[in-house]
Symmetry: D2
Amino acid sequence: MSSSTGTLFRVSTFGESHCKAVGAIVDGCPSQIALCEKDIQVQLDRRRPGQSDLATPRQELDSVAIMSGVENGKTLGTPICLMVMNKDQRPGDYSEMIEIPRPSHADFTYMAKYGIKASSGGGRSSARETIGRVAAGAIAEKFLKETCGVEIVAFVSSVGGINASGVDYHTVNRKVVDETIIRCPDSAVASKMIDLVREVRDDQDSVGGIVTCVIRGVPAGWGEPVFDKMEARLAQAMLSLPATKGFEIGSGFAGTALRGSQHNDPFTWDNGQLRTLSNNSGGVQGGITNGETIAFRIAFKPPATIGKSQKTVDFNGKQTVLEAKGRHDPCVVPRAVPIVESMAALVLADCALIQKAYQQ
Amino acid sequence: MSSSTGTLFRVSTFGESHCKAVGAIVDGCPSQIALCEKDIQVQLDRRRPGQSDLATPRQELDSVAIMSGVENGKTLGTPICLMVMNKDQRPGDYSEMIEIPRPSHADFTYMAKYGIKASSGGGRSSARETIGRVAAGAIAEKFLKETCGVEIVAFVSSVGGINASGVDYHTVNRKVVDETIIRCPDSAVASKMIDLVREVRDDQDSVGGIVTCVIRGVPAGWGEPVFDKMEARLAQAMLSLPATKGFEIGSGFAGTALRGSQHNDPFTWDNGQLRTLSNNSGGVQGGITNGETIAFRIAFKPPATIGKSQKTVDFNGKQTVLEAKGRHDPCVVPRAVPIVESMAALVLADCALIQKAYQQ
Amino acid sequence: MSSSTGTLFRVSTFGESHCKAVGAIVDGCPSQIALCEKDIQVQLDRRRPGQSDLATPRQELDSVAIMSGVENGKTLGTPICLMVMNKDQRPGDYSEMIEIPRPSHADFTYMAKYGIKASSGGGRSSARETIGRVAAGAIAEKFLKETCGVEIVAFVSSVGGINASGVDYHTVNRKVVDETIIRCPDSAVASKMIDLVREVRDDQDSVGGIVTCVIRGVPAGWGEPVFDKMEARLAQAMLSLPATKGFEIGSGFAGTALRGSQHNDPFTWDNGQLRTLSNNSGGVQGGITNGETIAFRIAFKPPATIGKSQKTVDFNGKQTVLEAKGRHDPCVVPRAVPIVESMAALVLADCALIQKAYQQ
Amino acid sequence: MSSSTGTLFRVSTFGESHCKAVGAIVDGCPSQIALCEKDIQVQLDRRRPGQSDLATPRQELDSVAIMSGVENGKTLGTPICLMVMNKDQRPGDYSEMIEIPRPSHADFTYMAKYGIKASSGGGRSSARETIGRVAAGAIAEKFLKETCGVEIVAFVSSVGGINASGVDYHTVNRKVVDETIIRCPDSAVASKMIDLVREVRDDQDSVGGIVTCVIRGVPAGWGEPVFDKMEARLAQAMLSLPATKGFEIGSGFAGTALRGSQHNDPFTWDNGQLRTLSNNSGGVQGGITNGETIAFRIAFKPPATIGKSQKTVDFNGKQTVLEAKGRHDPCVVPRAVPIVESMAALVLADCALIQKAYQQ
């Protein structure tokens, strides 16, 4: 259960690594939105492995097909089924792990929950599960861009403790982000991050990082108090991604050290509307957008699958040493960038429709 | 919309500061659970203002009444309506603010969303909204304790940058937490926190902080991949609370600086079951509990309402200076402790029921 | 679970006969709708017992209080809690039944499901449960009337096999319906129905009937294929009412005997829009309203509680004879009229908001 | 929106006549259920056109593929994607209709709702939409049979006013139902029904009918008061099917003519449990199953698409005559039999899981 999300812009995903296909149904995309497979493929291409030497060398082309809901380049208002066939399966790579639950992976918890082992071990905890999200998110983004002018840009802001700085939230865009293979728009820092990831990779290890996401052009009024506050929904969306351990919006954890007089965002009047002079709120107040740039950060742990040998026990409790074979990402954050954008788009598209329903 | 949460253990809250009552309906609490008003009142008493000089001196007794769903001290399996009458209303205190949206409060965004001003300004963004959550959460907690032995303990781990240390997640309990008025079990640090809050209060200012929550006794298998992963639901629950800006579980943001070989939690065999030697995962792997202690942290910003004068503009854009009158909390985290516990209980009770439905 | 219904206009009801109160929360009513308790009371008064000698002589005044969500006569967009205190409780009347499950009542099934006996026997199967629905429905109706001009009229079209005829769906209104105590606008037939109900009542028996509901002014386009087709949602709403056994829309069961050439509703052009010449569709085609009058019928069985003695067995299987004491309705359909209208309003308000979200 | 249904056993369908594929995702099927494509194909074969001369001669093989969620013949507990490619597309057959909305079809209402014309006219109102339901329903049925022993049998009980009689609800089974091409187990009446359908077909017309569904082996306690009462959910499920106009359970509309003393089902004691001597309740009391056979009937109108010429107007209001070309079903009820069974299975599987979650 719970491979669905959203109230009016509703997405259901399916598929694990070794089945025939992965994908999603988007139910509730308004009709008459221009849509073709290229609109979706561009984000899938940014997500796929094998883009650089920082990622797993697995070549997954991940070509999407629109199976329903679109005719003559326009959405019909009916469910849009998106499908990507699974091609590059190598179950053998995982054979050893089947008997040894990989530390900090989901092999054990899936077994505890479902009482059955998928051949890949962790079932839907595989990164391939995010393909359906990205495909669906691309549609949400198209809808948001065409109807509201919303722009979503995510980028890598930290890798292994190396932090980017000086990124301008008002101007950063995907072109700039994609200029480095680590997807960090602070090019000086990007080089250091890349060096670190290569070092870690050569050491058969992995490293964590942080993705920052900024969203521009959202009008004041989106988000549904109290349980579906904008930040609450974004937090759920982001923490539902594999390998995430934290979410913060606006001032986040650092803001807890401040006084109210420092932290409050004073109002000002700009072009006939209320704006704020600072943005510690991160674009939301009381769970509702205030028209400023939404900005949040997501913590990704180091990938659990590493080549380095690990002392652990097998499913029967026998001491053993695990050395993962196969092809792994030493650092997931560059590929996480389009995934974060997609999840943000899904939340926003849903909030946009709900607010449209209620407002006068 | 969206004052409801949960799939099987479902809660709907209602009420704002100046209406007749606040409360909640709990729909889906199993039948035959022993329940009386005292079970609920104890947490409401920990939440209410006026408990110490660190909180607003407002005296809200917040007596709960069970209006339905319980007979002869047992739940009937039908909706349980919980109600707390609003008594200590002083709308006058807020009169000035009506024309001046309070910086970093929800006055402006509620107006932008709903096009109407509640007399208290921010409508459901009031802290009183959490009364319904706490009352409902107390029922969830009773259910969890009786049927599964789950134990939930939250405490203040940071105030204004002063951090607690040495709290043992395996033994910390509510009695220890409540020994200091700041609700920090590290008593040496607690004194410093209390001093800071008094200083900030006397300065007509406010300060932020962090609440840590630990949950013991949850079996492996709870949480629903992919969108309702345990950490995703906890993140939504916590970010739906007023004044929250961040959530992290297990290693959180700090874990992003680590290598996989440092971060992974190796398995061990203990009393016939798989356990982990470390707990960077925070009790969840792949969105499913692994039987270890669940541990997460929530960032609370400094309260937006301060007595200190603030330069801002009114709803018409006219420059003005705001000095909030009335009674405010200089720091919300001590009172947030039972609220965090309640939201955790709501998420867990729902996950417990769902897992019971699916497991064989 | 499942005392909630609706997606955007969401209602949660609570309460059984012998608890402190019954009521509902309406979550998702748009802001700025004029609303006061009188708007709601009028339908509660049409629902309450004791209106005529055809109904139970119990006097339940059922005064509603708005506990939240409304200020200065306008909705705030936040949850509206509606409450009616339980006053006229006579648990003693039901004491015998506790040991003897009433035939065709819910005493047995509630016990089978929940494993606990509410003092009234059937818990939420009591007719008092509909108070929350009627109160919530009155708000939905206000919203529909003010924003879309929708008009909902239900009436009794059959009692014990005596059928009304000649009711004009285009003009029938509540004033005409309320002119007879049986609420049948065919006054000649109404007298016969009334005579029958009195005869049945004096015989300590009960009798069934049919309520017809017509809805005028709904534009084309409401209803959500495929699972939330307008007729599907209306059917669920109506079959969720106590004592209902059937639902039909448009030509209904009688239409199954016709040929397509007889049954199809040909299109015509009227005032610049497509209309149909006949209305066997009952105002919906493919689950979506077509702009014609929506018309459906609901079958109500004879009330299960009768004074006449019944041979049955008690919970332990012992043969016994049951003679219900207390005060019962010999026929529920007159009081069901406002309940049916309320449920229709809840469905329509939700569909209206959803369609507003999607349409361009 | 709303191509999803169910709370724990959740189904999302997709696809229209002229897109690449139709199908469904089943999310929430418990793990470790034996499942293969044959289990599903058997019901799709009973649904497909071209089975006899009573149905459209279109040959749609409708081979199902399981795309995810099953490995080594067992469900994984993850979403099961089911897909049937669309092969026999003949858009040309519908070309004329595009400009002329077919009377009593959904061409007009889909245009009114979505503002765009799918090439087949009525989009998801096509009978092909039910393929996803039948495929998903076959899985629900497998789950119900294996875990609870539930048996679902639907059959044709009326065609064009010709009614079956003497069908024993305790013994009727699919083998007997399939012995006649009209799927009526009363063989004498079946012949008359077949003659009528052939006559109607040769006359380029269509005719309606009624499907009865009986469900045996459901224990007492399923169904969720108040809005998700068993009969309410069955009613929604059935009225969400194309061409349905009515639903009745147990005594249904006929029961409205009875007295309570006639209609009530007295209890008796049988093998240590409470049973009822009659079954006017149709297996449900107060929305909860009572352990007796569930029995309900669904009214299907005559198919709207007929070859006979019809006077109508086009989308611009111009008078015209429509003579549908292409291949149509003169009577849908034989093919509706497995569809009704599938929808019943989806409702029951969901109710079974929910009750498992709550019961002690």
